[in-house]
Structure formats: structure tokens, C-alpha cells
Symmetry: C2
Subunit: 335 residues, 2 copies
DNA sequence: GCGGATGTTTTTAACGTTCAAACCCCGTGG
DNA sequence: CCACGGGGTTTGAACGTTAAAAACATCCGC
């Protein structure tokens, strides 16, 4: 494994000159640069990242805590991780995975990784209602950025990127409206979840703007399962006044809606328009295809990395709210 | 940020003694050790991993290439990553994520990560039929271990861990047999996939052992979608001779089967027993619950890490075949 | 009372890189 | 003719750690 020293000897220059050839090529005379580059190529030299990190005290690694999965089905995690990795790599960085207990119990793990210089900073996700991590990291002066707002807090420590759930629901409602739906229901979760509230608000406000009814059209499911989605849909269908559109807060709930409709001999897309959230792999794989609000993963990842790695001069706004994109499939085909 | 030198000064010993206190405490006199440990604690010292890695030329990081997701829906990736992380951490290591082009085009990326000392070795997954990575890495002398065999090769370079698909199907068939099913079909993929063949063989052999028919009971789906699974099930149900059990090669196909059964007024679990593969989050979330073959993720991860990090003395067998576990749910409830 | 064995601690020298300062050379202007 | 400036290059030191060897202390048996 070639080192700077060997390259320097081969090119008959000093070690520092080779270092400059890589980090500040403009400092070299063109012919020297050329000669050094040839030696680098010839010896197949690759800088040792550990030595570099030791000297510069920057490891170019970003920590990400893998959510413990029984917690919540995170069907789009692979998309997110892929996008995050790709974005990090575009800046010469990489993602380091780790596990940690939830809440404040996990903080020593974060602290340790930073103190031992395994990572420069963190990307947080799976943000919870009173997530203690943001404040703690901020207080320790450890760099981080959050995917997701800490809901119900007026001000949240540190920078964040999030997807506009209210706007997402609004788009879904408008899409259903444009395809002729006039009684559009909302399948949600309990009010305790900030994310659920955000999406519910978008639905309610847009319905009201369009002059559509909302009374009795919001159903809260206890769990994020197909079963619950189906039950909730059944309740909607059994109630007075037909429902011809359903905005579900998750693809799983939407799947439940599709199942219940089909079971009753109704055709999703023709008789009732259904939309989901997140555009998980399921949306594509289910029949007749589930219209869903796709999170702009690449853009999210890009923003996260930019904010996290942008120098301190980067006095960016505290947060960045991105718009989901409605991917239209059979479940909302014009009736 | 405290360094060894500062701790040494505080404890009034040499730097090396502090290092020994951490790496070889048995070498210290108990009272010295006690004193040094107090200083470490007091100054909240954490060893700098970069300096250590530079000296020992071992980074304690394991590379894992995030599969590019459009490729294949990998519904259990989060489970796998979590298990892998946890297993790595038990040995003081961590997982570094990266992206790379598929096949041989990705090899420079692997090489680079290793040459720059970002990782000590790799865990490969998403193994493909003629996966070039194994041979390439072996030839370069880069440590790795594979989750998944390179199918249809008599000998595969390097060590691997895999789940016994044939045994999985066999378990599923026997379970369906024990709950009274006598015409058990198989929902698979084309023969080109080694994984598919493995699972198909287990089904066929076990049916024959039990004296059950197999002729006309194996259906190949072109894609891994719910739609395809439903179509295939429809074909089975339309053919001569009733089908009362279905072993599907994936949870997605199994979901298709459930849908088609329900559509025809049949009750999964009562009229027809259905099993899937992988125990993805869907299996739990669908109604009436999908019986599925769970990959022993924790054990897989543990074996992968053990093989990869076990010293060279570890002349372990080239491969390790683990048994999947049948998780029984409503879709195969005794009829 | 001395050679040797054993146990504990310190010294020295790296690991491969980058930063800061010094140095050299050459052209320019006074 | 010399001081000055600046591009290009080298020198020296440092980042924080560990391996190996050296030094020191203690104890034992003869």
C-alpha cells in the first residue's frame, strides 16, 4: 500500500508537495503537478483516511441511528438510506450506522461516537413528539440535523428538514376533487401524533376551501394496520351519506381501505378514489396501484447533508419544508 | 477534549501506562490502575479512534452497500441492518454504508474504500446468480463475507451465511399438511433465480415425501407483485382439482393469493392455507395475518460478523446454512 | 550477595497525513 | 546593486495513539 512518502520519492519531490498536488493543485507548477500525478497513478496511491482525519480532526462520517424496527414499520427506510448515502458521497462523506436506546437513554451513545471521533455529526430521524435528542445535542455543541420537526414545540433546537404533510393532504384532496369526488374522508391516527395532525389539518382546510363536507368524515385508527384501515373504511361506508374519496394517512391504512372496498364489490378508482402517504413499495405492487404522496427523498437527503456539512457561515433558516409529490395510480383513476 | 497525555499528567504516570490501563489492564499494579481509572473518569477521557486506527491500521468499520431500491423491494432490510449493526457493535465495530454500481462496475468503489482505510472488510448481500464481487474481492485479498450463496456455482469464493430456503418450504408444506391440506401449490418465480429454485425444490420434495401431488401445482410469476400473485392463484383455482394450500415464495405473492381468495368468497386459513416468505412487516399487518417463514436475522448477523472478524485462525467452514422459522398466523389457521 | 526470573513502568519510535513557517529562486523597481 | 515580493517547494512539527524495547524494582534461590 503506497504512502505519500513513497510517491514523493518516486516523483522526486517532497512529501508536502504530493499532499498539495491532491489538496491544493493550483499551488504546483503545471509540470510538477503532471509528474506527481503520474507517480500517484503509477503507484496506485490512495490517501489514508485515518491519518488525514487525525491531522485535520474531521472524519467525514455522519452518524445515523437505525431505528429499532418493531417500533414502527418504516417501509421507505431503504429509499431514505440510499438517498442519504448518495448525498453524503457527493460531498466525499459516508454514513455510519449505529444503534441506540430511544429517548434520553440513547444520548451517551451519541456523545461517545462524537467524542471518540467516529463521526462529525448526526442525522436524526424518527423524530418524536417530545424528542429530547435535539436539545441535548445542541447543548453539547454536537452538529446535527433533523429529518422531521419536533411537533408541538414552538421552537425546535437545531436545523431540520421536513415534508409538508398538510400540503400533501391538500394535494390529495384537490386531486380527488378534480376527478369528481365530493365526499372525501380522512383515515388518520390519534391526535397525539403531530404528523397525523398536520396531515389531518391539510385535509380539513382544503375540504372547507372547496366547500366540501368534513363532519363525520375523519376516522382515527388505533394502529397502522391493514385491518384497522379496513374497519375504519367499513364504518365510513356504513354511515349516512356515501363516501366517494378517502385520503389515508399511510399506505398501510390505504391498503385496508382498498381491501374493504373490494370486499364490498366496489371498485377502487371507479367508485371511490383512495390515496395513501409515502409511496412505499406496496403502492406500486398492489392492484390497481395506489395513488400516494411520495416523499422527495433525494431532495430531503440533499438538504440534510447540505445543512449538516455547510460551514458555520451557513446561516440557513432553521428549517426547510419540502413538498411531497402525488404519484397517481389506479386507486384514484377518474371515476 | 482530553487526550492520553492529559490523563497521564493528571494521574502522574506515563502516557503508555494509561494506554495499558485501557488495552491491557492486567499489566498494571492494582493501585496504579485504580488511580489511572479515576483520572480517566474525572477528565471524561475517550480514546481518539482515528489515532488508534492509524497506529494499528484497523478501523473497526465494516462496509455494506445499500442496495439501490428500485431494483427489488427489500421489505426486511431495516430488520437486517438493525441486526447487523447490533452484532457489529457487540464486537466494538460499526457499519459504514455506501452506494456502488451493480456487478463488476462497483468493484473500484469497494477497492477504494478498503485502500483508503475507511473499512476493514465488507458484508455482501443481494447476491446474484453470477455475482462477480466474491471472486474479485477474494483475489484482491479484501476480507468479506456474503449473505447469500452465489447460486449454481459449485464452489463460491469466500465465506457465506444463508438461509435454507428448501428447508423453509419443507416446513411450510408440513405445516399445511398437518392442518389437513392435501393439495398444496407453489407460487414461485422463473427458474433463473437460484433462490426461487431452492424454495421450489423444498416444496416439491416434501410433497412427494408426503405422497401429495405436485403436477400442475407449481406456478411461476413474472414479477414479485400482488397482482401477479393474485393471477397465479386464480389460475390454480380455475384448474382441475381444488387447491387447499399455497406456499408462496414471497410475502408479496402470498398477499396476492389472499386477495384472490377473498375476492372469490373463500376464507384464507379456513378454506385455503397460505404461507409466505421472509416475515416482512406486511405479514403482521395484513388480515387475517400471514403465516410466513421468518429469517433468523439476529443469528444471520451474528454469524456474518463472527466470520468476518474472527481471526485468520478461524478456519471455519466456507458456509453456514441457517434455518428459517415458521411464524404461524391466521392465513394458515387449521381449517 | 549475586544471577536470574518476574512484574511494573517509562522511553523511543513510529503510523501517514497536514499546517505553518521557512526557504529558494527569480523578476522588479528604486 | 540591493531590498522587496511572490510563486513554488521544502522543512519541522504536530495530530493521539500503540508496539517494542529498555529501564527499574522486587523477589527468589543458592
Amino acid at each position: 500500500m503506497a504512502t505519500l512518502k513513497q510517491v514523493a520519492a518516486h516523483a522526486e519531490v517532497s512529501v508536502q508537495t504530493v499532499s498539495n498536488a491532491l489538496n491544493a493543485p493550483h499551488r504546483l507548477r503545471p509540470d510538477t503537478l503532471e509528474r506527481v500525478n503520474r507517480s500517484i497513478e503509477l503507484l496506485n496511491y490512495r490517501p489514508n483516511r485515518n491519518a488525514r482525519s487525525l491531522r485535520t480532526s474531521a472524519v467525514e462520517l455522519i452518524g445515523y441511528c437505525v431505528p429499532s424496527w418493531p417500533n414502527q414499520t418504516h417501509l421507505v427506510m431503504d429509499q431514505f438510506l440510499h438517498a442519504l448515502c448518495a448525498a453524503a458521497e457527493r460531498t466525499g462523506r459516508h454514513i455510519l450506522l449505529f444503534t441506540a436506546p430511544g429517548g434520553v437513554d440513547g444520548m451517551p451513545t451519541y456523545d461517545d461516537l462524537h467524542a471518540r471521533r467516529l463521526v462529525d455529526g448526526f442525522v436524526l430521524s424518527q423524530t418524536e413528539t417530545h424528542d429530547p435528542r435535539h436539545g441535548w445535542l445542541k447543548q453539547q455543541g454536537i452538529p446535527f440535523v433533523s429529518f422531521g420537526r419536533v411537533w408541538k414545540e414552538t421552537t425546535q433546537p437545531g436545523a431540520w428538514v421536513d415534508v409538508d404533510g398538510a400540503a400533501g393532504s391538500a394535494t390529495a384532496v384537490r386531486h380527488l376533487y378534480e376527478t369528481g369526488r365530493r365526499r372525501i374522508a380522512f383515515l388518520g391516527w390519534p391526535k397525539s401524533s403531530g404528523l397525523a395532525e398536520d396531515r389531518a389539518n391539510g385535509w380539513r382546510d382544503t375540504c372547507q376551501d372547496l366547500g366540501l363536507p368534513t363532519a363525520g368524515l375523519a376516522v382515527r385508527c388505533r394502529e397502522d394496520t391493514i385491518e384497522e384501515g379496513a374497519h375504519a373504511t367499513a364504518r365510513l361506508l356504513d354511515a349516512d351519506g356515501a363516501v366517494d374519496g378517502i385520503v389515508a394517512l399511510s399506505d398501510i391504512l390505504a391498503l385496508g381501505a382498498l381491501r374493504e372496498l373490494t370486499r364490498r364489490g366496489l371498485t377502487p378508482g371507479r367508485d371511490v378514489g383512495v390515496t395513501g402517504f409515502d409511496d412505499s413499495p406496496l403502492a406500486e405492487v398492489v392492484s390497481p396501484g395506489l395513488t400516494s404522496l411520495r416523499q422527495p427523498m433525494d431532495q430531503i437527503a440533499e438538504e440534510l447533508i447540505t445543512i449538516l456539512t455547510g460551514g458555520p457561515a451557513e446561516t440557513a433558516p432553521a428549517g426547510r419544508l419540502l413538498q411531497p409529490e402525488l404519484v397517481i395510480r389506479g386507486s384514484s383513476a377518474p371515476g
